[in-house]
């Protein structure tokens, strides 16, 4: 296919999720970069205007930059498949599997990547069986500290790391405010490392690993979006052997989950140097403080050019 001079790109960002603000910021950022690289870009919120845009502007490609439900659970991509419009990113089934943390963990584990032991339970089970006994069983099985997180969702919203068992019920309440199913996971401490993967049509490439060092406490919303509070190291301060293992794991997870074009994988490398898979993202954050853009810049990429290459690859694969 002949490359288009000014590919028409529709970015879909916003939506009605808890992560709307981050999505809007990601959308604006990618739009600016793509425009600087010569693309003709429209940005739309996720509402009835999207279908109108598809009709009226007939984009060559759609880039869904929605975070949270609808955006990452594959449903918007299902609609794009229905409309027959090429899009950047993974196909609906892969999104569904990745978006659901317990499923993603199981798939990735089958692909040979270690992930901390965990149990996912809906609120109804706690209510029907009794929370106190069930929490005690979880503690006995998984030990302390524990990470409690919504089974679906991003930006660390609703996530708590619990060191004191007395705080576990509160963490469950906070988590269930975001959704009906909680993932309770053995909390691994160590270096937080993000592995970003892009595929420009020649197979997946792992960008330099980004290591996240917070000022104390978890890499939560506060640490992510208050610039200056968290220090990033690109590439991550890992020895070569460990780095290679993380890269292998990221690629194994990418392939195991059947992902396409772009993804980010979050790991924790424990004190023994073992990288543990925590979660995968089919629509990684693309704000000015997000991890994938930092990784790309660490590899010397011009973000506008890189994003345009992703767009062109998506047009090619259709």
């Amino acid at each position: 296919m002949t490359a288009l001079t000014h590919p028409r790109v529709l970015i879909v960002a916003g939506g009605l999720t808890h992560e709307r603000e981050i999505s809007v910021r990601s959308g604006r950022r990618v739009a600016d970069m793509l425009r600087s690289a010569g693309c003709d870009v429209h940005v739309s919120d996720l509402d009835e205007r999207v279908l109108a845009e598809l009709q009226d502007h007939r984009p060559d490609v759609v880039w869904p930059l929605l975070h949270g439900a609808t955006g990452e659970d594959g449903s918007v991509r299902e609609v794009l498949e229905l409309a027959g419009v090429p899009y950047v990113g993974s196909v609906p089934t892969a999104c569904r599997h990745t978006w659901d943390k317990p499923i993603a963990k199981a798939v990735v584990q089958r692909a040979g990547v270690p992930t901390p032991e965990s149990v996912a339970l809906p609120h109804s089970v706690f209510r029907e069986l009794g929370a106190a006994d069930l929490l005690e069983m979880l503690r006995a099985r998984l030990g302390m500290p524990l990470a409690v997180k919504p089974a679906r969702g991003g930006s660390a919203l609703g996530v708590s790391v619990v060191e004191d068992p007395a705080q576990l019920p509160g963490a469950m309440v906070d988590c269930f405010a975001y959704g009906d199913e909680a993932l309770v996971e053995r909390a691994v401490t160590g270096r937080e490392v993000a592995a970003s993967v892009v595929d420009l049509g020649e197979g997946p490439t792992v960008l330099p690993l980004v290591e996240i060092q917070t000022a104390g406490g978890p890499y939560d919303y506060d640490a992510r979006y208050n610039t200056g509070r968290t220090e990033y190291f690109v590439p991550a301060r890992l020895d070569e052997e460990t780095r290679d293992v993380v890269v292998e794991h990221a690629l194994a997870a990418y392939r195991g989950l059947g992902l396409r074009d772009i993804a980010r994988f979050d790991f924790i490398v424990d004190s023994r140097g073992v990288p543990w898979f925590l979660e995968a993202n089919v629509a990684p954050g693309m704000t000015e403080v997000s991890l994938l853009p930092q990784a790309a810049q660490g590899a010397g990429h011009d973000l506008g050019k890189l994003y345009r290459q992703l767009v062109e690859a998506a047009i090619s694969h259709g």
Partner: protein, 456 residues
Amino acid sequence: MQHDINHAAGNHAAGNRLDQWADHYAARTAGMSASEIRALFSVASRPEVVSLAGGMPNLAALPMDAVGHLAADLLGDHGTTALQYGSGQGDPLLREAILDVMELEQISGHADDVVVTTGSQQALDLVTRIFIDPGDVIVAEAPSYVGALGVFKAYQADVVHVPMDADGLVPELLDATLGRLAGEGRKVKFLYTVPNFHNPAGVTLSPERRPQVLQIARRHGVLVLEDNPYGLLGFDSGPLPALRSLDPEQVVYLGSFSKTFAPGLRVGWALAPHAVRDKLVLASESAILCPSAFSQALVRRYLEQHDWRHQIKLYRELYRERRDAMLAALEDLMPRSSWTVPDGGFYVWLQLPEGLDAKAMLPRAVTERVAYVPGTAFYAGRTDGADDATHDGRSHMRLSYCYPEPERIREGVRRLAAVVDGELTVRGTFGADATTGGIPGVPGRQGVESPGPDLQ
């Protein structure tokens, strides 16, 4: 497999905090941070969400044609002055007209003692700027207007809250707090109070208590900062006498056209004792040179040529209808909560069933497509003489009825009731006192928890 990791073991790159000025900011920026809660308000701007979180006046009742003609005439006849710099203290003729507005609350003042500001928010900033050194104490109601608390924090004041009841600030508790603070050698610079249709509490300082509060402040040598944006928006009776009308030397009075005319013009004012006024004028000139000449001229023409008293009456009727819709919906749909009954203004202050935490519950509300402001946003420090567990705002929320149509208000309350039921069920599962109590090892980290001014 390919990868282009350009990493050399033992030769690590330096860390990057993505802000080369991260170590350069003033200490006063410590509280100026994003928060998970504030990010959730992003959804509230979508039409599917019933926002009971905003504070936007409802301008549908404003005669836009008439205002448009005023603006056109203004630019046609006096464009070169309306678009020029003006006096730092504000247009003298507007200051005269402001005296007429304040007369409705029995204030008699002099136009020379009025300082026009960019909304009364700027007046709050100026008063705080000229009085507060870091560590000085400001006594405020519990809860208190979040926009004022933001200013106080920015000037590194120590805010001490004093409880209110249905009649507003409790004089005995104010007296006890001021006495205790004096005993501790603390320097209390002023009492900040919203006496009418309080934001967020919805209550009004009773006429009986007004002289008592002033007398206590006078006895303790404490200035009163009377913030009165809603005073003319009473539903059931005429305006009460302003604190300023009872004790001109003890009070700096702040007024605004944001709720009675239009907030987009950003015109407010301070009426202050003359020595205070002198400093306010110089402080304002150093901050903004002068308030908008165009906005001031438009407000003046509006006051001169439009029946603004009738317009305020229309606003009152509009807000009363919405208040009634809110109260009826709460009565019908929220059996286990309690709330204040405002006689004016924009807000109801709702207390949740025991054990519920409005902040922790907000994500659930977003899922249900309804938004409110958690009570914690309206506290900046400890509440004197009160049990902390009930006076940090966790158990409360602010509901605004100023913007949505009455049927939307009812729909919002219906959704809110579902949120409360859902949260009660989860609390029932895990225990009513289940709380994470903040983040272990990260004490006192709290970003801005209120929406921006552009939320409906």
